[in-house]
Subunit: 362 residues, 2 copies
């Protein structure tokens, strides 16, 4: 283990922890140092099933991970309702925090976490992986090109997958005491994040939930949608819509429409495959003579990825941690600010739903 | 000219008339018989510019076309505000009617036209071309496949193009006295039509305009959006959204999301090219182990078109006219019913906008 390697602890052995532990192992600047579960048996089982090295410490409680002085940073794939308690505890113990999304049940809760990170000088980042993919930077490059794309006019995004009846009754992501935000928190998080990302994190002026909503018997959202609007230059409105669901075939659409260009991504959250990802764009589209066709067809842009996007995320995070740990740097505020805006908008979506799909000003 | 050829008259020499006259000439069962403009000079100019045969009658008024006993059917690419007057007049003179979209300023106006068609036994069809493309039937086949697609959950569609400042001030499509419906009528018509088409013409339960709207100085809509919802089986909501605009790069997206499948079309109104068109679908999409990718990538389906979609439209229409004219058949009610539902929904969108983006029940 190199001196400069950031040592990670993972708290909680949910399904996503498997992906995260693999990502840490693949990251050049990170090492999986410890895992902790509520029982030592569960932690050992996780270690065996995922072929973890014998050098990884196995703990039978979350506290032991946080109390281990060699742990630099923790990943926390816990149910959302447990985030405040364990994230604040981690920050107080000076552990840098890579927190699973949704970051909290609401902004008030998230603020407790962010305040603890700030006052303890630790880096915060949420576990949204797609923003770290090199494709994402390539799309942003195009969005920022006034000639190719022009001014942003509208966005539509979806995040859906189809779940079994068993999941819809029993999974933690639909339990009011564990992940009360349901599909809005689990997959709507990505939609809201993508919309904010595309608008350079400008909060919308109003958030209006779509009058179409499905809940399970416990009242947890299984499917919902929302519209956002901004007032742009020249008093022209910009608009975004999203739809998220546990009840629809897998989709991860991100379509962005500008005055000069259009961008389509169909797998923005999890690319079809790990080593490369693509998106389509048209620019300067016009109709041919007599409107018989188009002057351009979509261009496909392929972007290679040397390592999986979750590994890029871990590397990006570990670099910031390393800067603090080894070079006396300060935490980068960019990441908590992004998470907080997503959470703020999510609160507004929830409020709009509660008000019967009325507009909520931000 | 074969006995069975349907003889068309075109009233008005707008840009779209050029496409329609070409379509009639390409149609196997149709002949362009006469054109009429408000001035004989304009009509002659149109005939020369479009290389019309010398046998085509050139009239300096609309009435002369309608009074010509050899004219079986008329196409009417006139500003929407003139539709009632001229469409009713045509129907009274027993001319079958292929009417440009939007069909009327509102349903009350359209009902006058449909009533005139019904009482005079003439066929009505609106000039929406894309529904006649063989690709459209292929997509519907897939939508109807319970295994491939499953139950419909959501739809998003766009119809946008980017217009010059000159257009936005002077074109008839943004003049309150000519095409008062603006972008909603001109391009939103396609979005509403596509949504109804995908739902087998089930009217939504509620229509709610999106709180994002751009008008020109005369108050005509240049960009707007809307959401629709239905209550499906098991009390689960289905939802659709659209966005239409004269202020955004050309886009014609139709994305349809079901429990088992997803369909994406990016050029649904005017295919990129005339001789074939495609769409993408995924079916049974799942994440691979550890959610590292997808088990399937989109399949592309290419559908060849022997003749342009507008020619298919003319042929479909002329076949119905021929059935009435030559075989004593009755007008097919399917087409006026489709148009009327689109117009009804468009009225509701307008009403929702007028009410400040409140839901409107249908």
């Amino acid at each position: 283990m190199g001196e400069k390697q950031i040592r990670f602890g993972i708290i909680g052995c949910a399904q996503i922890a498997r992906k995260v532990s693999r990502a840490i192992n693949l990251a050049v600047n990170s090492t999986l140092y410890a895992i902790g579960s509520r029982s030592i048996e569960k932690a050992k089982k996780f270690a065996i099933e995922n072929g973890l090295s014998d050098s990884v410490k196995i703990y039978g409680s979350y506290d032991e991970v946080l109390d281990d002085p060699y742990v630099d940073a923790v990943c926390m794939p816990l149910p959302t309702s447990l985030h405040v308690q364990w994230a604040v505890s981690a920050a107080k113990k000076k552990k840098h925090l890579l927190l699973e999304k949704p970051t909290a049940l609401d902004t008030a809760d998230l603020d407790q976490i962010l305040e603890a990170c700030k006052s303890n000088g630790v880096q915060f980042m949420d576990g949204t992986m797609w923003v770290h993919h090199p494709r994402t930077a390539k799309i942003k490059e195009m969005l920022s090109d006034n000639e190719l794309f022009g001014k942003l006019k509208s966005i539509h995004t979806t995040s859906t997958f189809y779940e079994t009846d068993e999941f819809l009754e029993n999974n933690i992501r639909v339990k009011p005491d564990l992940d009360a935000l349901g599909a809005l928190g689990d997959v709507g998080w990505y939609c809201i994040g993508a919309i904010l990302w595309a608008t350079n994190n400008q909060l919308p002026k109003t958030v209006t939930a779509l009058p179409a909503l499905t809940r399970n018997q416990a009242g947890v959202i299984l499917a919902c949608g929302c519209s956002f609007n901004w007032v742009g230059e020249e008093e022209e409105d910009e608009v975004a819509t999203f739809y998220c669901s546990f009840l629809s075939n897998v989709s991860m659409d991100l379509s962005i429409y500008g005055t000069n260009g259009t961008i389509h991504v169909k797998d923005f959250i999890i690319p079809y495959q790990e080593n490369s990802a693509s998106f389509d764009y048209t620019s300067g589209a016009k109709f041919t003579e007599l409107h018989l066709g188009w002057n351009v067809k979509p261009n496909k842009v392929e972007v290679a990825s040397e390592v999986p996007q979750e590994t890029v995320m871990v590397q990006d995070f570990a670099r910031l941690v390393g800067n603090i740990k080894n070079h006396g740097g300060s935490p980068d505020d960019k990441w908590p600010e992004i998470s907080r805006k997503i959470q703020l908008v999510m609160d507004a979506v929830n409020k709009s739903i509660d008000l019967g799909f009325k507009p909520v000003d931000l």
